[in-house]
Structure formats: structure tokens, C-alpha cells
Symmetry: C2
Subunit: 100 residues, 2 copies
Amino acid sequence: MIRHTVVFSLKHEPHSLETKRFLHDAKKILTGIKGVTHFEQLRQVSPKNDYQFGFSMEFADQAAYTRYNEHPDHVAFVRDRWVPEVEKFMEIDYVPLGFG
Amino acid sequence: MIRHTVVFSLKHEPHSLETKRFLHDAKKILTGIKGVTHFEQLRQVSPKNDYQFGFSMEFADQAAYTRYNEHPDHVAFVRDRWVPEVEKFMEIDYVPLGFG
């Protein structure tokens, strides 16, 4: 399992129609891509950083994650929506520790 | 629900006994605090940042999260283990978007 997360802020006002539209479209587009599981849209609430939102999704393995990254719908989403509308972001990917 | 996450790097070598001990003790101490649920220890694998590990845990509400923060076992863990052994970290807290 790979859990792909991204914490980000939008260029739009937080409660604007543009923000609502971005989140709605992101969910629709990204969850439509095969291999995406446990998709979550989250609000970032810690005062220790100033990101506004988070997405979290899981893939069965690296092959599924790679297929997602290279999928035309993902590529188009990044080009047409993410790049123009996202102010800043940070990607964090996790696998279970499997320790000991 | 509040999901408290922290991504971090240790001062120890990644595969050292000190790293193993830190992770083992952190799990034991933090999961022993009332109100901590869905505790996870994760390995950070994205090449787009250089953090090594992540912890994720959930609280029912802000009151439970506050009790955790102020719990003597948490305060002692931060003072005696986190501050001396952690090289750098970033806290990210999420709540469900509850949109629309």
C-alpha cells in the first residue's frame, strides 16, 4: 500500500465558488481514475502551517501509483486545474513502516 | 474527527538501533494515552521531500486532542525523546471537508 497525500492552498478565497468548484471537480476526476482507493478531501486545521486543504488516496502498489501519475485524466487535471489554481503545495507519500 | 499527523526525520541513522528504539517507544507511549485512535507509524517515500517517517493518529474531537497534548506522558515524550532525537518535523492536522 502506498498512501499518496498532498497538502495545499488555493489561489481562490477559501469559501468561494471557485474553491468549491475546484474541490468538486478534483474529486470527480481523480476518483474516476482506476487504481485510486480511499480518496479523501480534508481541511487542514493546524495553526502550525498555513496550508488550507489536503487530498489523500491509496494505491495497491507502485505500479498502480505510476499508472495514476501517467493517466491522461491526471495529466490533464494537473495541467488545466492544479497548476493554474493551486498557490502552493507539498506532497507526502507513506508506506506502512513494517518494522522489526 | 481530527487526524493529527507529523512528518519527521530523526538524527539517528535510518536503520540504526536508536531509530528502532525511538519508533518502538513512541508507539508504546503514545498509544497508551487515552483518546488516541487509529495510530499509525509510516515510512515517507516521496522523493519530493526528505522527511523519513510519519505518525498519524485520530481524535474524536478537539477536547480529546487537547487532553492528549496536555497529558503528562505526551509532555514527557516530547521533552525527553522528541526534542533530543528529532532532526526536523512538520505537523499537519486534518478534519473531513464536510463540503456543500
